[in-house]
């Protein structure tokens, strides 16, 4: 039986840490949470609440600000729902109230939560065909997934750079990250382009995917509040693969 490897061993959760009484623990965890969720939140507010780009940016900033001040996420009970569902429920309530109290919305406030790259997020939204989104819940999930993978890719790039494995990341990037299927090279083409044997390409790719899978699960683990939620998320993840 092959030895189990590459399994996420960390028990660190940005969800639980963001509700910590210790400010030194809470603030970085909350920043990480915002990094993981601001883009799905921004796009969700744009799509579901039909907010303008500026209003969506304000609402996103204000939502996380209020969440930090009022400790929204401290009330999360992992036995009741997934964190993602809980966050979206909080967000819907927040936006509904903000719309009712229009004009009194705390725009940015005294605490800058994070610098939101809303222009880039808006450009991504504009690439969508009109009426392309018929299920906003599924859209939120997909955008969250996109951010999760982006985080894992960034970590994988750093991981490879730190270990002098740039070639491994290059093979992964060229084979697994092209925008369209037509742009995906064959193993042979990749081997010629990189001056390697085809078996080297396939071996490196297999190793890259193993490491990438481990990093994805690590990021997922960090974004879950409990082992149960992590297992449920990971199970759903595996079963929903296209």
């Amino acid at each position: 039986m092959p030895r189990m490897r590459g399994f996420p061993t960390t028990r660190y959760s940005i969800v639980t840490a963001s509700a910590s009484d210790n400010a030194d623990v809470r603030r970085p965890a909350f920043d990480a949470l915002v990094t993981a969720y601001w883009k799905p939140v921004f796009k969700y507010v744009r799509v579901k609440w039909q907010a303008s780009p500026d209003e969506a940016a304000d609402l996103t900033q204000a939502f996380f600000l209020r969440a930090f001040e009022k400790d929204f996420f401290g009330a999360f009970d992992a036995h009741q729902a997934r964190f993602r569902t809980y966050l979206r429920t909080c967000l819907d309530g927040f936006v509904a109230n903000a719309r009712k109290a229009e004009g009194r919305l705390k725009r940015g406030g005294h605490l800058q939560i994070i610098q939101l790259a809303v222009d880039a997020a808006e450009r991504e939204l504009q690439r969508l065909a009109p009426n392309a989104i018929d299920d906003v819940d599924a859209y939120f999930h997909r955008e969250w997934l996109r951010t999760l993978f982006a985080t894992a890719i960034a970590r994988f790039r750093e991981h490879c750079a730190a270990r002098d494995r740039a070639r491994r990341f290059t093979i992964f990037e060229r084979y697994d990250l092209p925008e369209d299927e037509e742009c995906r090279p064959t193993y042979a083409e990749l081997a010629v382009a990189l001056g390697l044997a085809v078996t080297d390409v396939t071996n490196e790719l297999a190793a890259a995917r193993r490491e990438f899978r481990r990093l994805v699960l690590n990021v997922l683990r960090e974004q879950c509040a409990s082992d149960e939620e992590f297992h449920a998320e990971a199970r759903a993840f595996m079963r929903s693969a296209p």
Partner: protein
């Protein structure tokens, strides 16, 4: 930004089990069950196709891991032609548990029955009963018998699948015994007899004796059902041989009709003899 194509691709490669270091090379997905996905794979050592069930969960999920292990052990214990044999059990490089088993070829019972003749359906039902009776004799209750969990092979061989919930209180509503819905009741072999009765009812649309057998097997109270699978199969076998069945009190007309069916060959011969004899007498007189 990660494109939709790349996102789907990444989700697939992360979700796919990592068979590196094993003797199995995945070829396609055969199906998804409650806790795992079954892959068609090539066993590179023996150069044959096998089915590999992989847990849709991580190693830390002890409850589901235990579930898959129990399923594999149950299958390994039930060495019977009607139960899929397990070849291997282990852990993949990504930490997921799996077991490899024989690749089952054939049709699901409900699809197969759509084109099979009534006698063949009953013969298959009896083979299914044999497998379940064998499991009961080894202390295993299936708890989720249904046509989707029975495969019929090209040569009429029968395989009962998905023993994954044996030992757990779940099932499929249409085939589930009433006591399985109640958490306060101990479920025993008679729950499977109820499901077999429901399957039999779906396989036949008469005559009355068979309907009565299916109804007795599906009695609401377990004590009113057949108490053992072999009693159920014996009654079906009696019907197939033209004998009276225990589940049905015959009227005189029923008995005559049954005896007529049972002795149709000798009765036909006697009638043919009498007709020829009458013709001969009539010819001689003329």
């Amino acid at each position: 930004m990660i494109s939709d194509t790349a996102l789907d691709h990444l989700q697939r490669i992360v979700g796919e089990p990592d068979f590196t270091g094993t003797r199995y090379e995945p070829l396609s997905v055969l199906g998804r069950g409650g806790i795992g996905t079954v892959y068609l794979a090539r066993d590179s050592v023996l150069d044959r196709e096998v089915a590999v069930k992989v847990l849709d969960s991580l190693v830390g999920d002890q409850a589901l891991a235990g579930h898959l292990q129990q399923e594999a052990r149950i299958l390994a214990r039930l060495e019977h032609p009607g139960v899929v044999p397990v070849h291997d059990f282990g852990r993949l490089a990504d930490g997921r548990l799996f077991y490899a088993m024989k690749r089952v070829r054939g049709q699901r019972l409900d699809r197969w029955a759509a084109t099979a003749d009534p006698h063949a359906r009953l013969a298959v039902f009896l083979r299914m009963c044999d497998a379940v009776a064998f499991a009961h004799a080894h202390g295993v209750i299936h708890r989720d018998l249904k046509p989707e969990n029975v495969m019929v092979g090209e040569f009429g061989e029968v395989l009962v699948l998905d023993w994954g919930i044996a030992g757990f209180v779940v099932g499929t509503p249409c085939y589930m015994a009433p006591e399985q819905r109640r958490s306060d009741t101990t479920v025993d072999e008679r729950a499977d007899i109820h499901a077999l009765g429901a399957i039999l009812a779906g396989l036949v649309d008469g005559p009355k004796a068979l309907i009565a057998i299916a109804a007795k097997a599906q009695s609401i109270e377990p004590r009113d059902r057949y108490q053992h699978v072999l009693e159920l199969s014996a009654d079906v076998a009696r019907f197939m041989s033209g004998f009276a069945v225990r589940a049905h009190a015959e009227t005189v007309v029923d008995r005559i009709a049954r005896l007529g069916r049972r002795y149709r060959v000798p009765i036909g011969l006697v009638l043919a003899y009498l007709v020829m004899r009458l013709l001969l007498i009539w010819t001689l007189r003329v």
